[in-house]
């Protein structure tokens, strides 16, 4: 197929797609008609029924928590996939040359300014991550978003120091266990509903006082479980990435 034939095929498809696209757009509701009954119901129910102020987290971790389990396991399985794809790397001592500041002759050692600033930033970052996780039921955020903020703390520690320190602080096995624990905790929290003779993942714990950290029954617990899983999952990804980009084979070095 030469260039012109390919162009003709592309143009035919593109005009068809453009026509359908424009037709679909003409029937879109305007910005004022976007309110729908589900959203209105969720907003109306959040404070009286669940004693929480963040409707999004309440829907995610309560009304459709079962879907959220699926979403969480998408991340879990992708991290597992990455670990499986890269697993031979761990078994190859010949590639254990670290091109970071612990190796002499590395000219990219972090400057004192970077070192000082990142070390100052570690504690606020951890605090901010925990805050976002703990306040999932009250303000925008939750386990997922807070977990990634937590995961950046070891990363900036790596920026300030080197891979060996990163390995010491975030031990591979500890992170692996934390990820599995977070994923398992979410699934097991759902069983509480079964013990109360209700459906799986029914929010059966006491709802608490609105605008308190403990409000929302199981919502904060699920938020913490998701936070652990996501934070550990992202640290594992960083682990594999740093290991892959920092090691060189003997021949290249």
């Amino acid at each position: 197929m030469n260039r012109i034939a390919r162009l003709i095929v592309f143009l035919l498809g593109a005009t068809g797609l453009a026509a359908l696209f424009i037709l679909a757009f003409l029937r879109l509701p305007g910005p004022d008609d976007l309110r729908n009954r589900t959203a209105d119901r969720a907003n109306a129910l959040t404070v009286p029924a669940r004693h929480t102020t963040n409707a999004v987290s309440t829907v995610n971790f309560d009304y459709r928590a079962f879907d959220t389990i699926g979403e969480e396991f998408i991340l879990f399985v992708s991290v597992m996939g990455v670990l499986v794809l890269f697993r031979e790397t761990h078994a190859k001592p010949a590639r254990e040359i670290l091109r970071d500041s612990s190796t002499p002759g590395r000219d990219l050692a972090p400057s004192d300014a970077i070192r000082a600033w990142t070390l100052v930033m570690v504690a606020p970052k951890i605090l901010f991550g925990l805050y976002i996780i703990a306040h999932g039921a009250l303000t925008p955020g939750g386990g997922f978003q807070g977990g990634v903020i937590l995961a950046t703390a070891p990363l900036i520690l790596f920026l300030a120091t080197d891979f060996r320190t990163f390995q010491k602080i975030a031990s591979f096995h500890l992170v692996e266990i934390t990820e599995a624990f977070g994923a398992a905790a979410f699934v097991l929290i759902g069983v509480v509903g079964l013990f109360a003779q209700r459906a799986y993942l029914t929010n059966v714990l006491p709802m608490g006082t609105t605008s308190r950290l403990t409000s929302g029954g199981m919502i904060p617990l699920i938020s913490v479980a998701v936070g652990l899983e996501v934070a550990a999952g992202f640290v594992l990804l960083l682990y594999v990435f740093l290991q892959e980009s920092l090691t060189v084979e003997h021949g290249e070095a």
Partner: protein, 79 residues
């Protein structure tokens, strides 16, 4: 507000097109990361801060990281 919404939508379209047209494998993850950042600002402007945070996490950090990992692996095939 409507000006801001229009501006961010145009920016999303522009960065999306730029990602499609970047042919260099090294610059693609960076482009996707920037596109993810712009998308998350768009969600924020359209008053969905929760979605904006998730988008920031997945689009600007997670996905580019995974692409870069895949590139690193492709560059150095195991014998």
């Amino acid at each position: 507000m409507i000006v801001l919404q229009l501006a961010i939508l145009i920016l999303v379209a522009a960065t999306g097109t730029a990602v499609v047209f970047s042919r260099n494998a090294e610059s693609q993850p960076i482009g996707i990361s920037f596109y993810g950042l712009v998308l998350s600002i768009m969600f924020f402007i359209f008053q969905a801060p929760d979605v904006a945070l998730s988008q920031l996490v997945i689009g600007a950090v997670g996905l580019p990281l995974m692409i870069m990992l895949a590139l690193a692996r492709l560059r150095r095939p195991d014998r």
